[in-house]
């Protein structure tokens, strides 16, 4: 919020120009807020660890979506309010009055609308992910730069040189951060290449991918975290996708991922050849366990959501965790169960009780059926002891059902850790 308000505070801390009507002043404050919110987008979407901290990238991106929509509303409301309050401002839209000024304003409104529309309806528009990503980065950069230029040239609240400098620094820093994300970071990744060593189809319409570090120590991560993966000769590729690690943290130089075939990139994974170069940016995410906490743990996974939970279970197994654990693993059919044999083996080797739940079971299925709901949790789990921790990863409908069910069981929100799929 401080970042979003900063341009307004800097602009208003300068001289005190003659007050205008309420609508005009509201238009001015909304415009200054607009440039602050737009600059804030560059910071919150840039996967900066110092900023994401304990919030989590998936939460931050949800925040980005909502405040991005708000920024678009501000971009529209700013000129409308100014012109409604003082019709003379209509001249700003007249190219014969000032071509550059009018073109800049038209560009900002159209580009911000394109940014929002392509983000909300990318799939429906048939826009490929990598092109959307390039367009999103380019338009974001240009919109913020054009907005800054406009604010500096208006000369009402930004007439003083100190105000101009303050505004330029405030908005310029996020622009530099965008360059760090898109240029400097991939450049640094060139020093830590990886190689695809195994590509294998796994149940549930998914692919398992193994990577090996080439000439470096690999990646330190906590069980449950994810990384952004790029495949190909260069880390500057537009195809960068987030995947959870299924491997356990102790194996720094070897990473394992499983990805469900839901988009163009994941559908192309089975065709990736061993030996292909790969680039790993991460780790990210706060969805993780402390295997040595001693607290009893409940894992609830839906479909491919088993991937980060598999990393947690493998980690617990490697460290010889002795506390009771429960795994509730929901799938459509028995054939969709990933890591089935390994989970059975883990359950024999450590105090892990596994319950498979199928929504479309075959006639011979003896286990639980339907979805993970309150009554199933009641049957499977012991009463909450006030210390047990719950780790949820699955599709939004499952999460939306399980989270309230846990609350109804008296589980404190601070002991429920969840990760949703719809990151990008």
């Amino acid at each position: 919020m401080a970042l979003a308000l900063a341009p307004m505070l800097v602009a208003l801390s300068g001289g005190r120009p003659r007050p205008r009507g309420l609508l005009v002043e509201l238009g001015a404050t909304l415009g200054l807020l607009g440039i602050g919110v737009l600059a804030m987008q560059l910071v919150i979407s840039g996967r900066h660890r110092w900023f994401a901290g304990s919030v989590g990238q998936d939460n931050l991106l949800q925040f980005h979506r909502q405040t991005g929509l708000f920024a678009w509303m501000l971009v529209l409301a700013h000129p409308l309010s100014m012109m409604a309050g003082e019709p003379a401002f209509l001249a700003y839209l007249d190219p014969t009055e000032d071509l550059v000024r009018a073109a800049t304003l038209y560009f900002i409104v159209i580009a911000t609308t394109v940014l929002i529309a392509t983000s909300l309806w990318r799939v429906g528009m048939g826009l490929q992910y990598e092109w959307w990503r390039a367009l999103h980065a380019l338009l974001s950069l240009l919109v913020v730069a054009a907005g800054l230029g406009h604010a500096l040239l208006v000369d009402h609240y930004t007439a003083g040189i100190a105000t101009k400098a303050g505004l330029a620094i405030l908005v310029g820093m996020p622009l530099l951060l965008l360059l760090e994300t898109r240029v400097v970071r991939p450049w640094r990744m060139k020093r830590t290449p990886w190689e695809v060593t195994e590509v294998r189809d796994v149940p549930g319409d998914a692919t398992l991918l193994r990577l090996e570090a080439k000439g470096h120590d690999g990646l330190e991560f906590r069980p449950g975290q994810f990384a952004w993966i790029t495949l190909g000769d260069t880390p500057f590729s537009l195809q960068q996708h987030p995947f959870s690690m299924a491997s356990r943290p102790g194996e720094h130089h070897r990473l394992e991922f499983t990805a469900k075939h839901v988009g163009d990139f994941t559908r192309s994974l089975p065709g990736v050849q061993p030996g292909t170069k790969a680039w790993v940016e991460g780790p990210y995410g706060i969805f993780s366990i402390d295997p040595e906490s001693g607290r009893r743990m409940v894992f609830i996974a839906g479909g491919i959501g088993i991937t980060p939970i598999m990393s947690m279970l493998r980690s617990c197994h490697a460290r010889g965790c002795g506390q009771d654990m429960w795994l509730i693993y929901a799938n459509n059919e028995e054939a969709d169960v990933i890591f089935g044999d390994e989970i059975d083996a883990l359950a024999k080797d450590m105090p892990l009780r596994v319950t498979h739940v199928l929504s479309e079971p075959s006639p011979g299925w003896q286990g639980e059926t339907g979805y993970v709901d309150a009554s199933l949790l009641e049957r499977i789990l012991p009463a909450d002891d006030g210390e047990m921790e719950y780790f949820l990863c699955g599709p939004p409908p499952m999460m939306n059902q399980v989270e309230p069910a846990l609350r109804a069981r008296g589980v404190a929100p601070g002991r429920v850790f969840s990760e949703r799929f719809n990151l990008v």
Binding site: P19, L22, T29, L30
Partner: protein
């Protein structure tokens, strides 16, 4: 459970920011 907060955090912050901008505009216009 942080998601429940996150689901509405962007909207809540947006509303708060708009209210601040509106309040500032009222103060300036009334000055």
């Amino acid at each position: 459970m942080l998601h429940i907060f996150a689901r509405y955090a962007g909207t809540a912050v947006s509303v708060a920011l708009f209210c601040i901008a509106l309040a500032v505009a009222v103060v300036i216009a009334a000055a």
